[in-house]
């Protein structure tokens, strides 16, 4: 490992040159005009994995953008790690808010500025460099390695989902390493141990056959917007408690140790409210802390209500139809299918007479919980402590990374979520950045993680 660390450390100038090449490819997966760029980025990843010494490096077509796969499987008895990342990026608009062009990476004040610097090209490149440092520096890896890299993370990830479900046996591994998250605070080594799951539904109601005039029919015509309001109020009370029977039954609260860890995090609720959420008051279940609410409690949110008239001015329509988009974030160990069914039952029960109801579940994701007794998490913690001189904080995220749940579920392997981006990295926004030092710490930490994973076997 010492040689690998030296190799990586000696090549910082080349790393920066190479990463610039990667960041210059505008691989915006959602824009059809960028399809050739997306393919160029896939090929860039493939060829650099091959140059790094990885074997069987291939670009795998999907219904959408391609996957890149490579492996190196020569240490009998050692564990196999599957490295995941994505080479596609979000659109860069609004371009006028960027201080330097999004696809012309620059170093400014020690930060790499470019679309994808943090999410996820920079962090993916760190994994690739860690593999290269072993393979080119020492001639071998201490573990078996697979890379499975996608180009549709920003657009739903359908290709990788289908591929992993179909090829679970061929992707056999002992752990999955994902470097696509952020540090809890800048410079604070961070391991993510949980993600919320998701059920996203559309609730559609029909009242009368056609829109009616509220003068002539107000008082007798069923109003589906009003019925939706009643359904929403019947799904969640003003204190944030979800009113779906059985909803909390399977919920596993964080352990006392985990809750105690969170209480020690450098977190200022007042600053979080005023500078991050930027609202006059935080909402939700006030008997839980904000971090508990976001990381460990399920929530139900309304995203939009369609139907009727919303343009400027006044129209006195009672719409025939209305629909609401409503999602639930699930906490461990709430099963999406069961929650979706309970949701639909509750909505049906809340629908007033006179309406035709349709509930469509648009998508779901499993919540993910990485058990802290997991040896790969310990290996990651050990690696982070070696790099940063202090043990990592263990946090969760309130978001859902469907691929993490899919890996955990389909491959039966624990997922290690190590994030090296800073909380203010601006992923998805203008002036996205990654400190160059964080890139170097990421490479060193992944090298140490591979070594620690081998030793802990």
């Amino acid at each position: 490992m010492a040689t690998a660390l030296e190799y990586a450390s000696a090549r910082q100038a080349q790393q920066w040159d190479q990463l610039q090449e990667f960041l210059r490819i505008p691989s915006v997966s959602t824009l059809p005009a960028h399809k050739p760029d997306v393919e160029r980025a896939a090929e860039w990843v493939r060829s650099h994995l091959a140059e790094a010494g990885m074997e069987h490096a291939v670009v795998i077509p999907t219904g959408g953008h391609p996957l890149v796969y490579a492996d190196w499987l020569h240490v009998a008895g050692a564990p196999t790690i599957l490295c995941y990342g994505h080479y596609d990026v979000q659109p860069a608009e609004p371009l006028e808010e960027w201080q330097s062009p999004p696809f012309m990476p620059v170093l400014r004040d020690g930060n790499i500025y470019a679309r994808g610097a943090a999410d996820d090209k920079g962090q993916l490149y760190a994994q690739m460099q860690a593999a290269e440092a072993f393979l080119r520096g020492e001639g071998r890896l201490p573990v078996n390695l697979r890379f499975l890299i996608e180009g549709e993370e920003e657009v739903g990830g359908e290709g990788i989902e289908a591929y992993v479900r179909r090829n679970a046996a061929a992707l056999g591994c002992d752990a999955v390493l994902i470097t696509d998250t952020t540090q809890f605070a800048a410079g604070l080594p961070t391991l993510n141990t949980g993600l919320r799951g998701m059920v996203y539904a559309e609730v559609r109601l029909r009242g009368a056959e056609a829109d009616l005039h509220s003068g002539l029919y107000g008082g007798v015509a069923p109003n589906p917007l009003e019925a939706l309001a009643r359904i929403i109020c019947g799904l969640k009370d003003a204190s944030g408690k979800i009113l779906i029977p059985g909803f909390y039954d399977a919920l596993r609260p964080p352990s006392a140790a985990e809750a105690a860890d969170w209480a020690r995090l450098p977190f200022d609720a007042e600053r979080y409210r005023s500078e991050e959420v930027r609202a006059a008051a935080l909402s939700g279940e006030l008997e839980y802390t904000p971090l508990e609410r976001v990381w460990a409690r399920p929530t139900l949110e309304v995203h939009g209500i369609a139907g009727g008239f919303t343009a400027a001015g006044a129209k006195t329509v009672i719409p025939a139809r209305a629909a609401a988009k409503i999602s639930m974030r699930l906490a461990p160990a709430q099963a999406p299918a069961a929650m979706a069914a309970a949701f639909e039952r509750r909505v049906r029960e809340l629908t007033p007479a006179g309406f035709t109801l349709e509930v469509e579940i648009l998508h779901t994701a499993e919540p993910v919980l990485v058990e802290s007794e997991n040896r790969y998490l310990r290996a990651a913690a050990h690696a982070l402590e070696q790099t940063y001189g202090r043990p990592p904080v263990l946090v969760r995220s309130g978001g859902s990374i469907p691929i993490a749940a899919l890996f955990a579920q389909t491959l039966g392997a624990p997922v290690v979520l190590m994030g090296f981006a800073t909380p203010d990295c601006g992923a998805h926004g203008p002036n996205e950045k990654l400190p160059l030092a964080n890139l170097q710490q990421a490479v060193a930490t992944v090298i140490r993680f591979f070594a620690a994973a081998a030793q802990s076997a």
Copy 2:
């Protein structure tokens, strides 16, 4: 009067020719391309009022489409009637649903088919013909008469509102005759004695400064769509009762006699539900009959909810802002200003902490109640009974005719709402029609109304 009736009866062929001319002008007030047609229609009304023998016939410009005014004021001691109607029409689209072109009037099965046949050119023309029958047939009218005809009824009527407010003194009259409504059932003589008023509001809420992701912030971020749902549920309960303090205090229920009249109307609630409202169930205050709910009870309706994401698919946004369009229909004697203030107070009280609230009142209209002890209503009832051989039914409408409230309020004159269109006349829809017999009955009834109004003085 006998001579006037004979005059009208002898001129039915000419009437049909003249009305065809009027109906052929596509005076669609909402379409700028039809502005010359709208002006042509105004001039048509002016010149025919002058030919009828009305004096001072003028086209009066407004900020929008012009008004037409004429008068004949030569019977000292007799009451003055102001005749109101409108010469503009709704767009005719979808054209492919018309059996004959909307602006090529035809007689089919005894019905005049054309855009505007019922709403309101045919009914306006009946008033003009009644005046002509007296002035050309008898050389004089039994009452003093003013005509005030507008061309913006289908687009808000701002011009006439400003004009009436500014010239109330010059429009002095004892009663206003409006022929722009329908019969309760085909062939059933009908007087309308009440209209609901209106408060139309937009409620706007802001939670956080910017849209937030429901994964990262669901559970702490204030959700204005959810807050709007709570406000809506707090404004009206599931049984249709409005929960605004003081809302019902000024409400004047229909008299026992009026309610008894309604109970005798030929009304089949089941048929109304299945054929007119076309819903699986009627909503609202079930302790009142459907007619009472629509005519005499106030209601509160949500017309649209803006904010967040309503396109196809799933987006996990917690919007920063959301807005609802909500209107109340007011029953006599609820004052719009007081109801608007009570609404705003209640919305403020229902707004959860953490939100910035704005309530904008977009417009209001007074409810109208024509006292049945009114002599002009009795004159109208007498006239209808002479024409139809049976006394009219007294109904109300749940809609609001702002001009009716304005006349009542500004001119201090009772409003007589006599409708000759059939309930299935298709106003605003394709294949609009008016039975030719109804036109002739309308002319005769207005003649008799003028005579009865003079005698009752």
